[in-house]
């Protein structure tokens, strides 16, 4: 005897969800096959369920993390406790000193990063490509890709082999920010050589290339939609600095970046680290196992450390800032297989007054007088206007002036008027003695140069590039590449980048 519909009515939803025990599911299936009404109900419930799943997924506003930080610690801009007795923290507590410290640290950052550059061969402009295949807590399990430079034809294979692991592991997300936060002890960082792809990172911070190789048109379009909804910003846009002040106000500009991707070209985008992470996850959701990510740290990783130390006061960032090491160096110190220090900046003509930012514009071996000069210059940075007027280190002065635009003006004024002593103290606290010893450490050749210098024509050397002057710390210079799906319809944008292969194609 066929059971009545009432006996099965309550199980129909569980049936379509696969949440019934096998025997019961078989009974329901049998009934549904025989009962038009229940079959119709099942089909309509399926449509309701799938329709709900298709509703747009709303994304949290980009400032949510900062808002949580503020609320947790009453405007101190951090989650977590400050390290007790941290001199770094104690200096940063008052707002006035925070502003001064930010400027002073940037100066020191320039100083130190220049020494980092000096520590590498000037003929080696290849950025360190830091590839995070997985966030695992035992770094011994890491594949030893560092030993074998990645070949381009391995890209697809590598995506298949490592990308799923990378992206299935939510820890990878931590990897992205962890790099900046300097939590090197838990980052199994892989280093590859891929000079062409990430060369275009002119200043400190993170650089990243996301490659999406959709398998079909639906994935391709979905990936484009993900990018369209992303809060990205073209690097070099006039509003890059504004972006750091008011991200939401600049959302309209993201479509410019999209247009470039639509046309199949690479585009450098400026995004927050959080947005970069979300982009990776979103791409992976629409094109599972078809997303590869390459990450690097531009040469002034120390900027990122200082920035984050100031912004987040994370212990790791403070540790890096205190020791004045770049993030890249921190990774090396922590035992991660970082093979080469990074110099993503264009190689510039040697000579003291050649202009440019930081960069290898000085003799390779810093003399004692070099150090002294840097110290004097750094002290002078307390007055960027004076520096700009003097014509010396214009780039640093410009950077500081720009940085000021983000900071609070009244606080700056107050700092100038009331706290000159603090400024000096701050500087002294972070520079004397330690810098010199650090320089000695950085000078030890860790990496052999192998890559040719970039063509001067592609990297203006007479002055720093606009992108350089607009760079903002703490954000990610992001390249997004969405490959056309295999067998793309005519008119689909072709892969343009000549020096890379199509990861989805061959």
């Amino acid at each position: 005897m066929t059971p009545s519909c009432e006996q099965f009515a309550d199980d129909l939803s569980a049936y379509i969800d696969g949440e019934l025990e096998t025997d019961r599911a078989a009974q329901v299936e049998q009934h549904v096959a025989a009962c038009d009404a229940c079959r119709s109900t099942v089909e309509s419930l399926r449509r309701v369920s799938s329709g709900l799943a298709e509703l747009s997924h709303e994304r949290a506003p980009g400032h949510l993390l900062a808002a949580v930080r503020r609320e947790v610690h009453g405007g101190k801009g951090e989650i977590g406790r400050r390290a007790p007795g941290s001199s770094f923290a104690s200096v940063y507590q008052p707002m006035v000193l925070r502003v001064i410290a930010a400027a002073a640290l940037i100066v020191i950052g320039v100083f130190v990063s220049r020494s980092v550059i000096r520590s590498t061969s000037p003929q080696d402009p290849t950025p360190t490509v830091v590839h995070g295949p997985a966030f695992e807590y035992d770094s011994k399990e890491m594949p030893d890709r560092a030993a074998a430079p990645r070949e381009q034809h391995d890209r697809k294979q590598e995506m298949d082999a490592s990308t799923p692991r990378m992206l299935q592991s939510p820890g990878y997300l931590a990897d992205v920010s962890g790099e900046i936060h300097g939590e090197a002890d838990e980052l199994p960082i892989d280093v590859m050589q891929s000079g062409a792809e990430l060369r275009a990172a002119p200043t400190g911070g993170s650089v990243m290339t996301i490659t999406v190789a959709p398998r079909d048109d639906a994935e391709y379009r979905a990936a484009l939609a993900v990018l369209a909804a992303a809060r990205v910003q073209r690097l070099g846009d006039d509003a890059v600095n504004d972006y750091s002040r008011d991200k939401d106000a600049n959302l309209g500009r993201r479509t410019a970046g999209l247009e470039h991707v639509k046309s199949g070209r690479f585009e450098m985008l400026m995004v927050s680290a959080e947005e970069a992470e979300r982009l990776i996850v979103s791409f992976e959701q629409v094109a599972p196992r078809q997303v590869s990510v390459e990450k690097g740290v531009a040469d002034a990783g120390v900027f990122g450390a200082f920035y984050l130390a100031e912004q987040t006061a994370t212990p790791a960032a403070r540790a890096i800032a205190r020791s004045k090491e770049s993030t890249t160096d921190e990774l090396a110190v922590a035992g991660a297989p970082v093979q080469r220090s990074l110099s993503a900046r264009p190689t510039e003509p040697r000579g003291r007054r050649s202009g440019g930012v930081g960069g290898a514009r000085r003799s390779e071996t810093p003399s004692r007088s070099d150090l002294e000069e840097d110290r004097r210059a750094a002290r002078g940075l307390a007055s960027p206007e004076r520096m700009a007027k003097s014509g010396l280190k214009k780039d640093i002065a410009a950077r500081k002036l720009k940085d000021r635009s983000v900071a609070d003006a009244p606080a700056r004024q107050q700092a100038r008027e009331n706290a000159p002593g603090d400024r000096v103290r701050m500087f002294k606290q972070t520079t004397p003695g330690e810098i010199a010893s650090r320089l000695g450490k950085l000078e030890s050749p860790r990496v052999a140069a192998s890559q040719p210098a970039p063509a001067p024509s592609s990297a203006p050397t007479a002055a720093h590039t606009p992108a350089t002057s607009r760079a903002t710390f703490g954000e990610v210079r992001l390249r997004v590449r969405i490959m056309p799906p295999p067998g793309a319809a005519p008119g689909a944008p072709p892969p343009v980048k000549a020096d890379t292969t199509d990861p989805g194609g061959k």
Partner: protein, 217 residues
């Protein structure tokens, strides 16, 4: 009743043995646990990472539960703050993910109750399931292919907003957040049988509303 009994055993064993994709993967749980442990020991970055990992999902769930973006933002923020404050008391009986959702969903339900069930059918002013961005809308329209599906979404969004909260929470967690019954049971602190029946009734209510609106199912 045997049916429910079977069902409950079924869902439980499923969760334990087969690791359905709808519950957090073991790897996710492990990494969450590590981040929680680090956060509890004072690693400030670790909790930030947890926020980044789950902010979109929590926000989306809150939005679908309360119907307003500004409220969803407040609720999400509050949920993370509460989670942070309660972290020392978090016992690893459930995953962080489940625990966090429990906080967020309870906040959203309380919020909705406190508003006296004032209806926010529009989900931010429109009865459409509007896209956050025009450029995305273009792309999405292509993806959606048919106006019919778009219409279904539109009506579904409105119907969901009208649903009673007890049904709505289950429907959102299942059909939007793609949780399995066992996880929903933990998040809402309900017996599996209740989850199952509420989900069915919620879907049936949505179906009825759609039918009344003239949507062909």
């Amino acid at each position: 009743m045997t049916i429910h009994g079977n069902f409950e055993r079924s869902a439980s064993s499923k969760n334990m043995a087969d690791e359905p994709v709808t519950s957090p993967a073991r790897e996710t749980i492990d990494i969450d646990a590590t981040l929680v442990r680090r956060a509890r020991s004072g690693d400030s970055a670790a909790f930030g990472k947890l926020v980044l990992r789950y902010q979109d999902r929590v926000y989306n769930a809150c939005y679908r539960l309360c119907g307003r973006r500004d409220d969803a933002e407040d609720l999400t923020q509050t949920a993370f703050v509460k989670a942070y404050e309660a972290l020392p008391r978090f016992e690893a009986k459930s995953s962080f993910y489940t625990w966090l959702f429990r906080i967020a969903v309870n906040l959203a339900i309380s919020h909705r109750r406190s508003r006296g069930r004032r209806k926010t059918i529009s989900l931010d002013g429109g009865n459409d399931d509007r896209r956050p961005d025009p450029a995305a809308a273009d792309e999405d329209t292509d993806v959606a292919k048919t106006a019919e599906r778009s219409e279904l979404r539109e009506h579904l969004s409105a119907a969901l907003a009208e649903l009673d909260h007890e049904f709505r929470a289950v429907v959102v967690l299942k059909d939007i957040e793609n949780m399995d019954y066992a996880t929903i049971s933990q998040v809402l602190d309900l017996p599996l049988g209740t989850v199952k029946s509420r989900l069915h009734r919620g879907r049936m209510a949505l179906r009825e509303r759609l039918t009344r609106s003239g949507v062909q199912l």
